[in-house]
Symmetry: C2
Subunit: 339 residues, 2 copies
């Protein structure tokens, strides 16, 4: 006999299983003397509650899943960190799922989470094709909050940052510095955050008559930034400023530029997005667009529990934060007029 169950504890303590259950769940309903006898038996036998059985009866688990695009991206770990305290203090258990910007992985996670009957979900969807699955969970009464993504016309709570505005801030800053040939690096284009940041950037470029070259990458990481820069350096008449869709990409780009002896910011300016801690510590301290990362997580958790608490009569809320420009050395020099 591998595992000891409540029945064993009950037998050892000379009580019924119902009483053991009461000791665990409503200790005040059990007489002092009985309770300590049961607790002694539990300690004696090394009994551990079986969560599956508990959940089966309860019909719902106490797990809140956070589905992110990339756990290795500090932006998301900060969002998770922001959400954790609230979830845990509400008796929940946090589980982090990494979709890796891949719809198939995301879908696999969602299938499993649905089978697990999770208490709720905070999710940053990979792209629009995620919607069908998300609606399915939602239809099966799993409350969810969209993170870093407006709900659009979807009936959900959401917390987001105005990425179009962020894109405008970044591009505006570069143009202020005198640049007229801008490169945008990021992808895939199906990721809404990328699309929005590019939209904002493009708007500003068009308004002010700057040229814009778009380098679409396969992902939002170090390697993507490096590769895009390699490609850019091959051009005859290359851009003088790069706006990267996030800081990881920007750090990769910065590394590649430095490796090729291109001086930042004198010969090429760079600005990233997210303002992760590493940005300030980079080879050339990186200008970036700051998002309220942990507040994003905290608010999302808050909305989720509001929804769980309010039940039927719940009205969805959509919170939008404004991003903020953080200018550092990587965009510090005004463009030197070419002779």
């Amino acid at each position: 006999m591998t595992t000891t169950s409540m029945k064993d504890v009950a037998r050892a303590a000379g009580v019924s299983v119902g009483t053991v259950s009461n000791v665990l769940n409503r200790p005040e309903a059990v007489a002092e003397e009985t309770r300590s006898r049961v607790l002694a038996a539990i300690a004696e036998l090394g009994y551990v509650r079986n969560d599956s059985a508990r959940q089966l009866r309860a019909g719902r688990s106490r797990t809140v899943a956070v589905v992110v695009l990339d756990v290795a991206n500090p932006f998301f770990t900060d969002v998770v960190r922001g959400a954790e305290p609230l979830i845990e203090s509400a008796g929940g258990v946090v589980t982090v799922c990494d979709s890796g910007e891949d719809v198939r992985r995301e879908r696999r996670h969602l299938e499993i989470l649905e089978e697990q009957r999770v208490l709720g979900l905070l999710i940053t969807p990979v792209d629009d094709s995620s919607t069908a699955w998300i609606e399915r969970l939602s239809g099966h009464d799993i409350p969810l909050v969209l993170v870093d993504r407006g709900a659009g016309r979807h009936p959900h709570c959401s917390v987001a940052v105005d990425d179009v505005h962020g894109g405008r801030l970044a591009a505006g800053h570069l143009l202020d510095r005198g640049h007229t040939r801008i490169a945008f690096v990021g992808g895939p284009a199906s990721i809404p955050q990328v699309a929005d940041r590019l939209t904002g950037c493009r708007e500003v470029c068009v308004e002010q008559g700057a040229s814009l070259e778009v380098f679409t990458t396969a992902g939002l990481n170090f390697a993507a930034g490096r590769e895009a820069v390699e490609q850019m350096l091959g051009l005859d008449d290359r851009p003088t400023a790069v706006f990267c869709a996030n800081d990881l990409v920007a750090l990769g780009a910065l590394q590649a530029l430095t490796m090729h002896g291109v001086k930042v910011p004198q010969e090429c300016a760079i600005i990233g997005y997210d303002d992760i801690d590493f940005a300030a510590a980079a080879a050339v301290p990186l200008s970036s667009i700051r998002q309220p990362r942990s507040q994003l997580g905290r608010t999302a958790a808050q909305l989720l529990f509001d929804e769980i608490g309010e039940g039927e009569g719940h009205t969805h809320r959509n919170v939008v934060f404004q991003p903020e420009l953080v200018a550092r050395s990587s965009t510090a020099a005004d463009l030197q007029p070419l002779a």
Copy 2:
């Protein structure tokens, strides 16, 4: 009726629940015609398996938990990335738990994981006081592999990197550069990795007659590095080289040094540990001690499944990898003899 169960599917398809179960678990044992009828009913009703019930019956979940010291540390995300493919291809589900270098948080996670009857565990224990709990899980037949930590005399599989050797490499490199006043920054001292790296460092310093100043920090992150440097800069006769217990600390230290106008490496050299991707992209590319991060994860997962597969007749294995010095700019200059 919120959830639809197998019973509902059975009724809709005009078969027994046993047959529905067979369709899901051993489709080849069900007649073609019946199978498609059941599948149709499943699709029709939007039926989703209840994992709790399944686990209850099975006695075990298919979750493999990875308990790490800090999810925000790229070292650990890389370890997790390394372990995931193998776990998932074996039909497992990965869940990452962050102990945050805090024994209490670690313990809470372990309690929950035990209640969940996880399939297995990859864990980097916070410190020696974790041992009792780990043994408890192990005693309850939950197989586990210690990660980034030798098993010592404990009866477990483990994958580790020789941290004492790593400490020697780092210190040796600094002394080779002509430094004779070394600072070690890291903590808390109860973390074995920190203790081992310091041990190696101290050995070399003693052997070669260099002085060693130890700055013990509360954690292994950015802020810790910054604070230690602030403190160090207050000293009259300060060290000329800093060995940080990991790269996050080193990046924090580097940032603080730069902020105070101390030139790296000319006025102060720095070397970190882990060689995370950010190290190479730092303000001054950071020398570091490289660990085979994803291989660590992959091997750990391998050992775990070996243990699960072999059952009783299993013999524990302890794999130790050797770290490797990666010299970059942050230690590039030989010490300038002070006039």
